[in-house]
Symmetry: D2
Subunit: 309 residues, 4 copies
């Protein structure tokens, strides 16, 4: 199985109304994704609201998804922590729980230079036996992983892939080119929902779109069209998914963490996949009016039939 | 003639060794671009180093390019200034010099909210009779033009297009979609050299790539392939142009304004279009070693024959 | 006369209801400041809303204030422009209009490194015969002038002083120390209204507080207490002025440029100094309710008697 | 004992050459600080390199310092973690280990609005029985704690103090004033080494300067002078300490985390307090040349006699 290839949804973490991890809903979500034909699963990402989970809950999520996936697709796991020795503790836990790779950001809270960030990744790679994927998400980490850093680590065998959530199309294209020139040591995926067609055309190996929790089949169709070089079909499917992505703009005046994932959870309740749209405290769930507006969009793009409403 | 359609190079401003505008080289550059089949010309942009020109020099550049283009393609002109009444003075000058449209940023130095920025654009539109194009370049202006602002101004008839140099692929896609939903009141172009294929696939109306000064024919081929929905050919041409774009990485340790435009000017000297690669003070020109390394890349992508070196 | 010593208010630019410069109000404002005993005047600063004035209006302001001050205190003038050759045009105009020094920021819109910024200041110093004062205001210029850069330029004789509006107390203290170690080639002033006592204790040569337009006598008392090393009195006066500074928080939900200067203008109308609180378009004036709340604060700190309301 | 009053050094975490916590050196450091008369100890702060410690090591540090301080001064402990439920786990551990208060930042990695940040602090306050101190350090947390948020939480009884490391003198002064107007529900301290005199004049309740690890007696003298309103003496002591602070500029080209703390550790080795200047991986220690240059400064300010070198 190839790590980071095709559509790899960042799996949401369902909670029950008390705020505990809802493992039955998590099982249903995994089934929903695998039935659509996704190529891998990324647990404990930003869409998985990993920042709000305790270590015990993180381990539970990895174990449960690994068990449910049962080897059909690779499961990669996020490990956000402040610095390398703390990440290693989390990465080893993820490996023990069955993760096929770990997804690692630059240090948080610390103030490091590029050489220190490179050594951070080396320390983590030495601490686990599964591959390490670099996660570039400046909006949360507040530093950008440069092309030279990533390619250098790839050539050393420290990292095997990059999950790019930087929203920087130019940097992404330059990374893809440099990777090709270096013999493709990296698997490179985009994390952004509405530019998957363009990024695949530019040379991405796949996508990790949070919206794929809601419509995995749509992203699988987009991927298959791109694989067939049918870019007109890919663009058409992307247009439909971009309309679906409007669900994240339904909630107004909400924080970055509350609006988007709240909309995904609300949609998955409407689709019968999740039992509850509960958000981790201190995030509040969406309003009933927002949930209803989201259902209108689900219906418009064909995900929700009239009978279901 | 449609403003902002297809390939619209942001025309460099050639200087002679004394630092004065080199109008003969400017004429040759316009000829070089038009011969390749570009669809429009954008003078006094960031690539034109407008920030370093006096008002007298700005007027000279507009007049000369308008005269040389002689109506074959539209000429649009940048007008960077601190606030609206100052922009209006520059925009009226550009109009007097024959510009077909003016390209306008949000205020500089001022600290405005979105309503004030909207009124800024309205004040400018009232001050000229040519169309106003919004220029979104946060790396220089330090504020981002939001989708709601741009679409609102478009619906009011205040702006006719957007030159997007924000490097934000997600925001670009969302703008394109919102524009389509609104009946396409805006012409939307990307300013980034290496993602033109992806952005055209996503729905851009054209591109304003600085690198098109060096290889306008390459970008015209890319555009034509995209128009024919031959995305495989578009991607191949983009790959070649991305390799050519490596010339901007040849100079090491240079400022944002010195490296990239310095490389474009150096390349155009090697190609016989410009008489000098002089940069405006306080920017220093590239070294001879850099110029030689740039020629190697020009040769590799087929722009410079062995006999020329 | 020493440039940048003691209290140097950044003079507001009064406008009449049509938006034109109100020179009679400007005269009264100069009289108001000089009567209180200020040590200098800084025209065309951010408080002077220089970004919103045309070049013609800028020249008018300098000429009028120079004439009214009539040599009693030095008049320094701001020259915000994109790059050095454009600044030189404005600085020469200010010198022709009688300014005793020019106040210069790093380049705007341009993307320069430290060496280029240093040369920027050198180009300007070569272009005028009056002293150059560096203006460090990162919130508007989006780059910070470093200690090494400033001290280097001071040792070369390029700059004579620094107006610090960076809000970075640590950087300010380090600059003051480095300047003392270098033999005090620079005059260093703080631009922040509510920390003048602390910054004078730390070694500042003076202050350029916008609020001094409203209560110049208060700042003169603060300065005199500091000169007498009566820091308890200085702190007490600063406390009173900090309460007065609350007028800038009266307007809610306004932009950075609209709220604070709007409050100063409103207060000066209430005090009978200005004829109108008109703001330059696209900035809207404050509401009547805001003006009334500001008068309450003016009364509380003893600037407005009961009979005046 | 008052939490956050006077000089409260952020205690360094000494490591032995293998990278393990060096508890004997830690004991000596506590003795060094208490002998100088400091008013409290802050463990697990940024100066304590908390980001690089595992949870086991964090607990060890709190226990050891609490035991060594033996109730003579309050010991407060940092708890940096991503979100509230994770912070509560760390805060409860700190409380079990004997900490007299916990020091808490806004969420890391998460993207929250002000209401969610307020609830974050409430969740933590509900989880422990010791006081909660808010830690405002935007350079690491990448969000700023606003005056309204802090005063609101203080009035609710959620937080008891603020450790301000924002470097924003204006915001600090406004917070101090608002706190005074509210009846002083908060203890407010500055974390910056070179502006303690000015911030005490402005009304701070104390200081948490990393440099106080090196010269606690100097900061105690500064504090006592300020308490006696002898601001001339306070300024003189601050000048001396500002010269000592130059040790952090000795290492050139080092990261934010490597240079400053590296200099403090190097100085404490020279002073015989620490057994080793070992830094946590991936941070490298300072060079011998840097250590020697630091000794020169220690000698200059009278901390190191000729016989010691």
């Amino acid at each position: 199985m190839t790590i980071l290839n095709g559509i790899v949804p960042p799996v949401l973490t369902p909670l029950d109304p008390s705020g505990a991890v809802d493992v039955e809903s998590l099982d249903r979500l995994v089934d929903h994704l695998l039935a659509a034909g996704v190529d891998g699963l990324f647990v404990l990402g930003s869409s998985g609201q990993v920042a709000y989970l305790t270590d015990t809950e993180r381990d539970l999520v990895v174990e449960r998804v690994v068990a449910r996936a049962a080897g059909r697709v690779p499961v990669v796991a996020g490990t956000p922590e402040l610095t390398a020795r703390r990440v290693v503790e989390r990465a080893q836990a993820a490996e023990r729980c069955g993760a096929d790779a770990v997804v690692v950001t630059a240090p948080l809270y610390a103030l490091n230079d590029a050489a220190e960030v490179a050594e951070h990744f080396r320390m983590i790679a030495r601490g686990v036996s599964v591959p390490v994927i670099a996660y570039d998400v400046p909006v949360r980490v507040h530093s950008k992983l440069g092309v030279d850093l990533l390619l250098g680590l790839a050539r050393e065998g420290v990292i095997a892939g990059v999950k790019d959530s930087s929203g920087d199309d130019v940097g992404f294209r330059i990374l893809v080119r440099a990777n090709e020139a270096a013999g493709r040591p990296l698997r490179i995926t985009t994390g952004h929902e509405v530019v998957v067609d363009g990024m695949l055309l530019l040379g991405a190996d796949g996508a990790v779109p949070g919206l794929a929790n809601v419509d995995p089949a749509g992203y699988v169709r987009l991927w298959q069209a791109a694989q067939a070089s049918d870019w007109v079909a890919a663009r058409a499917e992307q247009d439909r998914l971009a309309r679906l992505f409007d669900i994240v703009f339904v909630p107004r005046g909400r924080s970055g963490d509350a609006g988007g994932i709240g909309a995904f959870k609300s949609a998955l309740v409407s689709l019968g996949v999740l039992g509850s749209a509960t958000m981790p405290a201190p995030l509040a769930p969406l309003s009933a009016a927002d949930a209803s507006a989201i259902e209108d969009i689900l219906a418009e793009v064909g995900l929700l039939g009239a009978e279901a409403r």
